[in-house]
Amino acid sequence: MMDTERLLKFLGKKIVRFVILLIFVILLSFLLLDLSPINPVKTYISNVVISQAQIANLEAYWGVNEPITSKMANWLGNVLQGNLGTSLIFRVPVMDVILERFTASLVLMLSSWAFSGILGFLLGIVAGFKKDTIIDKAIKVYCYILQSAPTFWIALIILMVFSIYLGWFPTGLGVPIGTLSENVSFWDWLNRLILPMLTLSIVGVAQIALYTRDKLIYEMNSDYFLFAKARGESGWNLIKRHGIRNVLLPAITLQFLGFSELFGGAVLVEQIFTYPGIGQAAVSAGLRSDVPLLLGIVIFSAIFVYCGNLIADILYNFVDPRIKEGENNG
């Protein structure tokens, strides 16, 4: 088969494209932050009183007054060598901050991603199969409401109910105060993960469920579905053989395309539950003008989102038989 060869060629093209894209992401975000009224020297010295000469020294050291082109070239050169600079608020290399925070976030994001995907798909199939019944309406109303609910508000409500009124979970902080990172038990950590994960899952269900429902109903109106019915197939078997097989792949593709929303949700949820992830770091970096950290996070978030898109693309182009056939023909 030519498929492996095509896939490799496709991947190669995608990776080259991504490197170019990433360079532009870096340049774009750098440009945006350079246009901003942030003064890195002021952020760095914060409230320490230093002389005018020292400020001038710092400015010269960081190249504050150099033209934008050479600043960009310097930054890009450093990034390509893997040097993202030093975080101004954590005072450690940006790379260390990101690696630590991103691991925590990945656990949160991927667990809620999988959970919401499975739950959403099942709800969508049930709703589509039972179209226009009370079950369908209940699922639809639930999804519409959740889709319109601001993530951070859901997080606030969940925090209020489970942490403040019921007192089941701590109101915040990654681990109990005063615990060293190596002494954190799995349970402690899980305890902090549950509420943010629950929030992200609840919010993530809506889109996939509604999509699956609509897609299934669309398939159920198709001619081959009608033909299958005419042959005497019915019930769950009909859905399984003609519905799910057609709906599953687009649904998974859609779920992979949701990495960007997932990251956005994580930013909000982490902020509210003070979960020590990348999103929370991004917000503190933005609020406290930590330019190197913010740029580093942008780069890593872009890589994360791109992985999702790449997988979705592969599913779309190589696994879906309809698209494969279409491409060969035209």
């Binding site: 532009f24 945006l32 508000w153 209020m160 956005g264 991004a282 917000v283 933005g286 978030s301």
Partner: protein, 286 residues
């Protein structure tokens, strides 16, 4: 769908109406409520929201529907003002972004190279999570209403562009377009006669459906502290203030403003989906 109308309840006043009338009523009602919210918020002066320390932290009552905050301000008035603000920013952002989407998707449909450029641009803007990009743009424009509006507009054109691009691509592979091409019709003729009529629905619905996202992203970014300034009664500000008072049991500070925002977003969604139903010929005659 004949069997979907089985057993209409006589208690349901909507049962007598057909789907089209029902849809129109739904659209009318949701648009009516939205207009009421916007108009009434315009009549509220920020100065009217006075502090009243005799009525601090009051739970909801008939006098104060949404309760009062720690400065004795009426939360209902503040919420209403915030909703109006959200709609204004949402309107600006979604109109701007759908204009960008229309222009780009039609430019992209002219030839392969431009199509590549446009889809690359979409990829570029989609490659950074929306919230981060809005934060970046907002920071670079110095925050405030302007920063948020531009930030939201520059991040939300991608979905509509993708939809239009895919739609146009699909229409171009259809038999009637191929037939027209064989007949020697120009690209412009095909775009005008075959493509535009089929995507008008997508454009109108797309613009309305950007609204909810725009409003929500504005509120989120403001909540995180990158959007509107803290003295403006935006929903994001109200909710981020309420976080400090959650532990003391002032649940109404978070519940009602958030719920109103949810309802606002929901109304836009309902209006958009129903307009889609009316405009889409495949479902309009159900």
């Amino acid at each position: 769908m004949a069997n979907s109308n089985n057993g209409p309840s006589i208690y349901n006043p909507f049962a007598k109406l057909n789907l089209r009338t029902k849809t129109l009523i739904t659209i009318g009602l949701s648009v009516f409520i939205l207009v009421i919210v916007v108009i009434s918020s315009l009549f509220i002066n920020s100065g009217d929201i006075t502090t009243n320390f005799q009525a601090m932290n009051k739970p909801p009552s008939f006098e104060h529907f949404f309760g009062t905050d720690w400065m004795g301000r009426d939360m209902f008035t503040r919420t209403l003002k915030g909703l109006g603000l959200s709609v204004q920013i949402g309107a600006g952002a979604s109109i701007l972004s759908s204009l960008i989407a229309i222009v780009l998707s039609f430019i992209g449909s002219t030839n392969r190279f431009l199509d590549g450029v446009i889809s690359w641009l979409v990829d570029l803007f989609l490659s950074i999570p929306h919230i981060l990009l809005i934060i970046l743009i907002s920071i670079s424009l110095g925050g405030g209403a302007f920063g948020v509006t531009v930030g939201v507009a520059l991040t939300h054109w991608t979905s509509l562009t993708r939809v239009l691009r895919a739609e146009i691509k699909q229409i171009k592979t259809s038999d009637f377009v191929k037939l027209s091409e064989r007949f020697g019709k120009s690209k412009l003729w095909i775009a005008r006669k075959h493509i535009l009529p089929l995507v008008t629905t997508q454009i109108i619905v797309g613009t309305i459906l950007i609204f909810p996202h725009a409003i929500m992203h504005e509120a989120s970014v403001t909540f995180l502290g990158f959007g509107l300034s803290p003295h403006e009664p935006a929903i994001g500000i109200i909710l981020s203030e309420s976080m400090k008072y959650l532990a003391t049991g002032n649940w109404w500070l978070a519940l009602f403003p958030g719920l109103s925002l949810l309802i606002l977003v929901l109304l836009f969604d309902i209006a958009g989906e129903n307009i889609k139903k009316i405009l889409d010929p495949t479902s309009a005659n159900e």
